[in-house]
């Protein structure tokens, strides 16, 4: 089992690197805030970044393994449909997730 001192140092290392990556870019970008380029990026980026994050969570899905791929595709369809219909984030996430849990525990149990 790892020693307490080592674990504390490990936590501090991971936390410091993470915080640095989150905080330092603001210092670099602050002088550029008024530039039209940053204004453009700040409007165009969020939608794209969110799509990339969504795609990233699906990186291990292999179309060659139907028991993994189908529940994801179907649950994604339910999530998107419910969201386009009711526009309620909480409802769409709950419906899609519940549907996925049911699928992988009943139909696609492979």
């Amino acid at each position: 089992m790892p020693e307490t001192g080592y674990l504390i140092a490990a936590v501090a290392t991971a936390a410091a690197v993470t915080w640095g990556l989150r905080a330092l870019p603001f210092a670099v970008l602050a002088p550029l805030r008024a530039s039209p380029l940053i204004a453009y990026l700040s409007t165009a980026m969020p939608a794209g970044v969110l799509l990339i994050l969504a795609a990233y969570t699906l990186r291990d899905i292999d179309p060659g393994v139907p028991d993994r791929a189908w529940p994801t595709v179907l649950a994604l369809a339910v999530t998107v449909s419910v969201h386009l219909w009711r526009r309620n984030g909480m409802l769409s996430v709950s419906a899609g997730t519940a549907f996925h849990v049911v699928l992988v525990s009943t139909v696609f149990t492979g």
Partner: protein, 258 residues
Amino acid sequence: MATQHDERAAPVPCALTPREERRSDLVDALRDSASVGLGAFPMGVAFGVLVVHSGLEWWWASTFSGVIFAGSLEFLFLGLVLAAAPLASIAVTAFAVNVRHVFYALSFPLHRVRGRLGKAYSTFALTDEAYAVTAGGAGRTFSSRRILGIQAFVHLYWAGGATAGALLGSALPAEVRGLEFAVTALFTVLAIDAVRAGRDVPTPVLALGCALAGRLALPGQMLPAALALFTACLLARYAWTRYTRTPYARTRRGGDHA
């Protein structure tokens, strides 16, 4: 004369008192963060269960999730510390997994957050989820308290989930399968909202293309690769539109060198 420090000073007519305002900010923050919590809490529970099943005390789950506060890194981190990896490899892993956060500074509304302490916490708690909820169109008008509230709630869901998972750890029956889809559903829903707010068709197509390219070209580093490529494409597109027409230079037409 009402002093600036007295919260219960005479209310301004037809406006919320500071106390009511604070409460409504927190209610908004709770609502904004609720769908995020649906993904973060079960993920935290799963992490907590994993920590105690690795033989560590339950409070390490709270410490890891509360202090590092970076979900995807923590699962890797646990494996590294159990193998007694050198601190240098922990630092390199943390850098590789979280380097994507560099891009969040471009659109996260940190300028809305007041106070040095507030800004410090806000950068510390700038997770994917916090970025997702605040960086869209509406987020740019959120109050300082609402942004900090969202971040604190996400922190609470994640660290609270990890603690609960660690405490229940051994008592828990076989875990519910398929719950991890909540994370995918969450990002999908937030992406739909952001796409609809932006009404810009090429950007989502470009983003999905970059995600696919990142997945195929650098499977181990898909996220930083896709984000870097996407940023590069946006820069190129900006330069091109600026060169041909000037639709994005609304305030200053030409002349400046940004």
